[in-house]
């Protein structure tokens, strides 16, 4: 009996973004994202900054090709096709990332208003986080 992933199962960030691209797929996805960043920076008048971003994304993607013998790397590239333990790790890591981001936004917002600023852009970022959390609570409560 093989354990197929449940399509309605909650998924973490890597699982949602990478959706089973595999090692070379992750490399190409990273290259494409890096190229978009480079283009955007070029349009904004900072081509060298964009080149640096492209290099970082290329190096990130290369990890999935160079390290494809590693089971952990293969599980990361497997996305939603990874096994249940990895999906659980991905989900918990995504929750941890959300907590860290939320706290960072709150601290930055407080720092900004304490320095006489209007709290931008942290106030709308905090609002997005709070509203998305409420929506998730309502949806998950209704669904489960």
């Amino acid at each position: 009996m093989r354990m197929a992933p449940n399509q309605r199962e909650p998924r973490g960030l890597v699982s949602r973004l990478c959706g089973g691209l595999g090692g070379w797929g992750m490399f190409l996805f990273s290259l494409a994202l890096g190229a978009v960043m480079w283009t955007a920076s070029w349009i904004g008048g900072h081509p060298m900054l964009g080149l640096a971003m492209f290099g970082i994304m290329a190096a990130f993607g290369a990890v999935f090709v160079v390290g494809r013998r590693s089971e952990t790397i293969r599980l990361m590239a497997a996305g939603r096709h990874a096994d249940e333990r990895w999906r659980s790790i991905d989900l918990r890591a995504t929750a941890f990332m959300g907590i860290v981001l939320g706290l960072a936004v709150i601290v930055a917002f407080l720092w900004a208003i304490a320095h006489g600023r209007d709290g931008q852009p942290y106030a709308p970022l905090g609002a997005i986080a709070g509203i998305s959390y409420l929506i998730a609570i309502i949806y998950l409560r209704w669904r489960s």
């Binding site: 009996m1 354990m3 089971e71």
Partner: protein, 68 residues
């Protein structure tokens, strides 16, 4: 949660990788279950019990005492 997965696997002469392949999970997951760092989902626990032809309660013990 204690379990007898390692005992049942070695009794059958299986490697962690072979059991992982049969269950459709990674070898790391089997290792984590055997070392009791990861509690499997109910479907995986049932699948493991079916694989070893044992009732679930003979493979997994939720009250913290080692099943025999």
């Amino acid at each position: 949660m204690n379990n007898r997965v390692r005992v049942l696997r070695t009794e059958r002469g299986l490697s962690q990788g072979e059991l992982a392949e049969a269950m459709g999970v990674s070898r790391q997951t089997i290792n984590s279950i055997e070392t009791e760092r990861y509690t499997p989902s109910l479907p995986l626990a049932i699948a493991l019990a079916h694989y070893f032809a044992k009732p679930v309660e003979e493979v997994f013990n939720a009250n913290g005492t080692q099943s025999t």
